[in-house]
Subunit: 232 residues, 2 copies
Amino acid sequence: MPRSYFDDVRRLHLFAKMSQDSFDTLMRGSYVQNFPPQIDMIHEGETSDFLHVVLSGAVELYSSWSNRETTMAIVRPISTFILAATIKNAPYLMSARTVEKSRIALIPSQDVRAAFDDDSDFARAIVTELAQCYRAVVKSQKDIKLRTSLERLANYIVRQHVREGGANEFDLPFEKRTLSSLLGMTPENLSRAFKNLVPYGVTVDGRRIRIEDLNILKAFAKPDPLIDDRAS
Amino acid sequence: MPRSYFDDVRRLHLFAKMSQDSFDTLMRGSYVQNFPPQIDMIHEGETSDFLHVVLSGAVELYSSWSNRETTMAIVRPISTFILAATIKNAPYLMSARTVEKSRIALIPSQDVRAAFDDDSDFARAIVTELAQCYRAVVKSQKDIKLRTSLERLANYIVRQHVREGGANEFDLPFEKRTLSSLLGMTPENLSRAFKNLVPYGVTVDGRRIRIEDLNILKAFAKPDPLIDDRAS
DNA sequence: CGCTATGTTGATCCATATCAATAAGTGTGG
DNA sequence: CCACACTTATTGATATGGATCAACATAGCG
């Protein structure tokens, strides 16, 4: 693996405190791969051969059942995905495809499990990472079960506004169809939902989102740290 | 803490491999409490003071937002809850109340975090536990996003049938209103959903569920190991 | 520059929520 | 042990959020 990617991975919270020895061993069996957009990388039900790290681009995690499909999450750099499956040596619960051109580091699962057994600092880092992932899904679950689709969209826009550093104008980071699936609705419904947010000062032009008045939007969205906060 | 509860906790996968020293230290600050039914034990947003272990009875994890409330999970003996909040020293994302009379062990969060730092076997056990929890929520998320309420109920019954050791007649383990919230529907809708399962050979009398023909039910429910399997 | 996928809009349908009334349990105190 | 009170469950009527189907517009992309 080229030194530069190597450093990117090392900088990850998950690998930061790991011993140099364990890290080197881990990297020796790893490699980096470039994927074009919309490429399926893994499919749910398969066994976990590699821990994946998104170095650049974006990856969509999605699931299917009975001819239906839903987007579970979008993973952006620099972070890992399917850590739980890797640790438990269990089949993937979700499939993954690239959203855009992406660079992915692949670390053999058995090496990760070995490092996990050998290096207790690494084991501890995994705990923190997993706890984070767990809390993220719980938040998402609350979002879905407690809010209407319009409320979910409004809160998504507020979150995105925060993530964009408080800009009141920004682009959606992926296609609307993906967003609709992520938010648990149909593309048609999303289109109409955007219309329904106009009274709350949100206008849309293509991928461009503009928030006229954040307070009005927030008054409707009622963002909650226990659902909408990224970290913690 | 009385010796008997002590052993129950020790038997938990989470504590089984922990050093005797760490375990003793952990138990020294812990205690067991009895709760009547329908008692709120913790509330979301509070900071995590104790890791909770359900020794007997049952605990409902639920969340609220904007005057709405939903059941997130039911925790049965012997297992822990709010482990992630304890580890991250972050506020609870869910509230907890007893479903029935319950005995709960309370282990001070800071002791858990200390043990986690000192005892790498314990740290590793936590990883497995957390990975399990994470996968459980992901499955629940898939259940909600990919299935209709009728399909969710059908699959719940199939899962319960399995959990009851394959019995085709069993009692619901809690009130129907709780089940409806767990499945993401209203009590009225659940009532009607049960009616709609009659053609698939499911009859209900009070809490008693009877499956006439498992194959017919399964043909409709289409249970999927990546959604419905308890373990793995 | 034209093809194909994405997005929008309209019409309609369906699942589920809500509101309201009644029935059936369940627990409590006399 | 029964009667009352209160909660839970059922049933019916209606409303509504969201899905589906269909047509058209638009925008990327080769």
